[in-house]
């Protein structure tokens, strides 16, 4: 399906929605209004849970904060509902930012469990504050007015609700296909990769969390002015889990899933309320929650992917466009060949009593390939982690391009021009090759959340996509840029990691055992690629096991054994060094 066809389908869907009030009765429109409001909350959850991997059980309390803010502003204080919207957004945003700031650094389940507790705390607060009507709630909330026209009719507010929902979906869609969106999509699967690309994972998480809360806030505002009466009940924790259910049942990670899930659950609730009294006349109200929870558990056990991905398999896939030519992005100036680039001074790293790296010093000069080798357990990987900032050294000093990076965070080291690959390949297997490489371009581009959601980032995005495509061509993977990274064989996954590192326009490329697990042909191709990169003026530090691979490629070698540097020099010198032979062969007879 081409882009144009996708647009036609979307336009038809919007037209059908616009025409719905002409065909449907008031009851159906009211139901659609609820679906639209729930879908808006679920959309936020799709973004943060389905895509960003953070689970919130407190979304209903965000809806509640907003609903109470606007109800207080308009019904108690008598101001305009629009002022209520402003207060709703500010209050919800502040609360979400505070909750996010204290929990998002911790593991995923801490955030989720705290949201339950806060959901309850906020719920109890609503019920116990006199100014907010206690458990009786606030009645006679005025309708929203546009100009002189009050949206008191369910058809009137129908257009507002679905207009807002569609706008939010469009904005989220744009966001996901942008620089920030790719960072959000990369959050799942751990921080190590994200931080190594120069992305502040905490900040991306926090903003995603706040955006989801703000969507819930808008939903709460619409809810308060549609129902014209609020009490604490619809903001209880079990409603939060219904929202979560909507987001997951529809298809976590699918924007359309929010609407499908909201519609399905709302309609099902409606039907179950009709059916259960027939089955069990005495216990219908009690059975409802049991039936719902059991269905949800069964769903999570059997069909975690949700409905939309299942249906989408049978539909024509959208055909993305190959990035066209664009003005290249500005590049870093490479230092003159031979100048000292990375200096390691007497680096020490202890793990308890074990000294993994013991007073190791060496330097990498601009324009060379330096090999760091040693037998198993020599401390190579630890040294690698010290250089890239994954571990802080216990003592010593590391200087990169004249800057002390001894205790700098991985993302700061990345931003100063060191790009790395991982021993165990870290890609995002469900993102395309192009998107994986685009992740590497994050520090070279600057579009923020708003610019991305409003598509103001297109010029920069074109340049970035062009650059990513160029890097894929450079490493020889440009034939199928929209293939999913997880479908590549291991050898090509390693090459893709290098393309991603190159996209950051690094000064120093650090490769952690790039030849591990490769076949002979693949190793030869990799060596060829690294030589070509050196010819382009790039400096490369290589941690490697494979002697043949290293000996024929590098300019100089540093050998480590039991945490100490035992030799350094040109490949031939190192090869004939008796200490190296002893380390590798256990003593020369």
């Amino acid at each position: 399906m081409s882009r144009r066809q996708t647009r036609i389908v979307a336009a038809l869907a919007v037209l059908m929605l616009a025409a719905a009030p002409a065909f449907l009765g008031v009851f159906s429109i009211t139901l659609l209004n609820y679906i639209g409001i729930y879908a808006l909350v679920a959309l936020g959850l799709v973004l943060m849970t389905g895509i960003g991997g953070m689970v919130s059980f407190g979304q209903a309390s965000f809806v509640g904060i907003a609903a109470y803010s606007t109800a207080w502003t308009s019904a108690v204080m008598g101001y305009s509902p629009w002022l209520g919207l402003l207060l709703a957004l500010i209050m919800t945003g502040l609360v979400a930012a505070l909750i996010g700031a204290v929990t998002l650094r911790l593991g995923g389940h801490f955030l989720s469990l705290s949201t339950i507790a806060w959901g309850l705390a906020i719920y109890f607060s609503f019920g116990n504050i006199d100014g907010l009507g206690n458990y009786n709630g606030i009645a006679s909330i005025p309708p929203i007015s546009i100009g002189a026209h009050a949206l008191s009719d369910s058809v009137d507010i129908y257009y507002l609700i679905w207009g807002v929902l569609l706008a939010a979906m469009l904005g989220t869609h744009n966001l996901l296909n942008s620089r920030v969106g790719r960072a959000i999509r990369a959050l799942r699967g751990g921080n190590a990769l994200v931080e190594s690309l120069g992305i502040n994972a905490f900040q991306v998480r926090l903003v995603t969390f706040v955006i989801a809360a703000l969507m819930a806030a808008v939903a709460g505002w619409l809810y308060a002015h549609m129902t014209r009466f609020i009490s604490p009940t619809p903001f209880d924790v079990h409603v939060s889990i219904e929202y979560l259910m909507m987001a997951l049942v529809g298809g976590s990670g699918q924007l359309l899933g929010a609407v499908v899930g909201a519609a399905l659950i709302t309609l099902m609730k409606n039907d179950i309320q009709d059916i259960l009294p027939l089955l069990a006349p005495s216990a219908s109200g009690r059975l409802e929650i049991v039936v719902f929870s059991v269905l949800f558990i069964l769903f999570l056990q059997r069909a975690r992917d949700g409905i939309v991905p299942y249906v989408a398999r049978w539909l024509p896939q959208p055909r993305p466009e190959i990035p066209g030519k664009a003005e290249p992005l500005p590049r870093r100036r490479q230092p003159p060949a031979g100048a000292p680039l990375l200096q390691v001074h007497a680096a020490v790293r202890r793990f308890g009593g074990l000294v993994a790296v013991n007073e190791v010093s060496f330097e990498v000069r601009a324009g060379e390939i330096l090999g760091l080798i040693g037998p198993n357990g020599a401390g190579k990987s630890t040294m690698f982690n010290l250089i890239t900032g994954a571990l802080p050294p216990s003592a010593g000093k590391i200087v990169f391009a004249g800057r002390d990076i001894t205790r700098a965070a991985p993302r700061h080291i990345a931003r100063s021009g060191v790009a790395r690959t991982f021993q165990h390949v870290k890609l995002r297997p469900r993102m395309s090759l192009l998107d994986n490489v685009l992740l590497g371009l994050y520090p070279r581009t600057s579009a923020g959340f708003f610019a991305s959601a409003l598509r103001l980032d297109r010029a920069e995005e074109r340049r970035a996509r062009h650059e990513a495509m160029r890097q894929l061509e450079r490493v020889g993977l440009a034939a199928r840029p929209f293939e999913l990274a997880g479908n590549l064989p291991l050898g090509n996954q390693r090459i893709l990691e290098i393309a991603r590192a190159l996209a950051a326009d690094p000064i120093l490329l650090v490769l952690d055992e790039p030849a591990a697990g490769l076949r002979r042909q693949e190793k030869l191709a990799l060596a060829e690629l690294l030589r070509a990169l050196r010819a382009d003026g790039l400096t490369i530090l290589l941690v490697e096991h494979d002697m043949d691979f290293v000996m024929n490629l590098v300019d100089r070698i540093v050998v480590m054994d039991f945490g100490c540097k035992i030799s350094e020099g040109a490949p031939q010198t190192v090869r004939s060094d008796p200490r190296v032979q002893e380390a590798y062969l256990g003593g020369v007879a």
């Binding site: 991997g53 689970v55 059980f57 505070l98 909750i99 204290v102 929990t103 650094r105 911790l106 593991g107 995923g108 389940h109 801490f110 989720s112 469990l113 705290s114 339950i116 507790a117 806060w118 309850l120 705390a121 109890f124 607060s125 019920g127 116990n128 799942r188 699967g189 751990g190 921080n191 190590a192 079990h238 889990i241 979560l244 259910m245 997951l248 216990a283 009690r286 059975l287 409802e288 929650i289 049991v290 719902f292 929870s293 059991v294 949800f296 558990i297 999570l300 056990q301 975690r304 995002r428 297997p429 469900r430 997880g486």
Partner: protein
């Protein structure tokens, strides 16, 4: 507030806190072995209290129905799995563990229906009835998704809480209950009255913490559980089945929940859904322990109990709000002291 009131509140808080300690330890135990944050823990404690009250009033406890439903479903699932695998020899064993054993206390309960039971017998019968619940739930709900991510297990766990509390309403009804005091004993210490109830709670909590410690340190089962908690793959290589360790953890957890239910029943009015909030407060204690450390968890839970007691004195409607707001500074502190786990492979 004067010193005497403060002392009374502290005593009260320590007693409540001791119950939270038991529950929080149960949380940590189950989480560390199975990676499941077992949200319905409080529900099980509440069901214990309701069962105990039913026996006291010589009513037929709804627990029997609940256990019967769970046992039948679990047996059906187990038999289905066995038939699919074609290993018919395992059928008698499965029937014994999933059907006969859980239903044994329930069957006894049907036999002695309405007969007057002494307090110790009531407590033993109640604990025996409650014990199978968590392991059966483990078999039905969690075993099929044992390899899922922590977050997915958590979502399932929360949904499970709502299912259970709905069932609680069906089996136990909406009435709140409070059981007879276990003792009328009371003593004055420096002008502060201390009830025997509080002393009993604290002693019981201490004994069961000690038992748990002894179990972990000195039994091979305990070591196996510890090993599973530290490294599932490693434990498996040493011949420890994680599923089995999980069952043991759930059984122990069930016991801790039952004991806390027995202890809380005479001091708090319990409803079918009271367990959730009590469980969450215990959970705040568990978070103070970072979901790993047993001693810190115990200290944290005691603190939560005392804080709650003072908060209830200052402003009763907001005591829950106060306790849950405590999470903010606690998490802030935790976010700088806990190592961040690298959650890989959750793509």
């Amino acid at each position: 507030m004067n010193a005497q009131i403060a002392a009374i509140l502290t005593m009260d808080g320590v007693a409540t806190g001791a119950i939270y300690v038991l529950m929080a330890l149960g949380f940590v135990l189950i989480f560390s072995v199975t990676r499941i944050v077992f949200v319905p823990f409080g529900d099980i404690a509440a069901f214990t209290a309701l069962t105990l009250a039913a026996l006291e009033n010589r009513q037929f406890p709804g627990t029997v129905g609940l256990v019967a439903v769970l046992a039948v479903v679990a047996t059906a699932m187990e038999l289905f799995a066995i038939l699919r695998a074609g290993s018919l020899a395992r059928i008698p064993r499965a029937l014994f563990f999933y059907l006969v054993l859980p239903l044994l206390p329930a069957a006894l309960m049907v036999l002695v229906r309405g007969a007057p039971l002494g307090a110790p017998l009531r407590i033993v019968a109640t604990v025996a009835l409650i014990l199978p619940i968590a392991p059966l739930i483990d078999r039905i709900v969690f075993r099929p998704i044992a390899d899922a991510s922590v977050l997915l297990l958590l979502i399932v766990s929360v949904a499970l809480h709502f299912a259970l509390s709905g069932m609680g309403l069906i089996f136990f009804g909406p009435e709140g209950v409070r059981t007879q005091s276990l003792t009328d004993f009371s003593v004055m210490v420096a002008g502060v009255p201390i009830s025997g109830e509080s002393i009993l709670i604290v002693i019981a909590a201490a004994i069961f913490c000690l038992l748990l410690f002894l179990f972990f340190e000195f039994t091979i089962q305990g070591k196996a559980l510890q090993a599973t908690a530290m490294n599932r793959t490693g434990a498996r290589l040493m011949g420890i089945r994680p599923a089995h360790a999980g069952t043991v953890a759930f059984l122990l957890g069930s016991a801790m929940a039952a004991i806390s239910g027995v202890l809380i029943a005479p001091v708090n009015t319990m409803f079918y859904d009271s367990g959730f909030i009590i469980g969450l407060k215990a959970f705040v204690g568990a978070i103070i322990g970072g979901l790993v450390s047993f001693p810190l968890t115990a200290a944290g839970s005691l603190f939560v109990g005392v804080l709650e007691s003072f908060a209830a004195f200052e402003s009763s409607p907001f005591k829950e709000v106060t306790v849950f707001s405590l999470l903010i500074p606690v998490l802030l502190w935790r976010s700088y002291t806990l190592l961040q786990p690298e959650e890989d492979g959750e793509e």
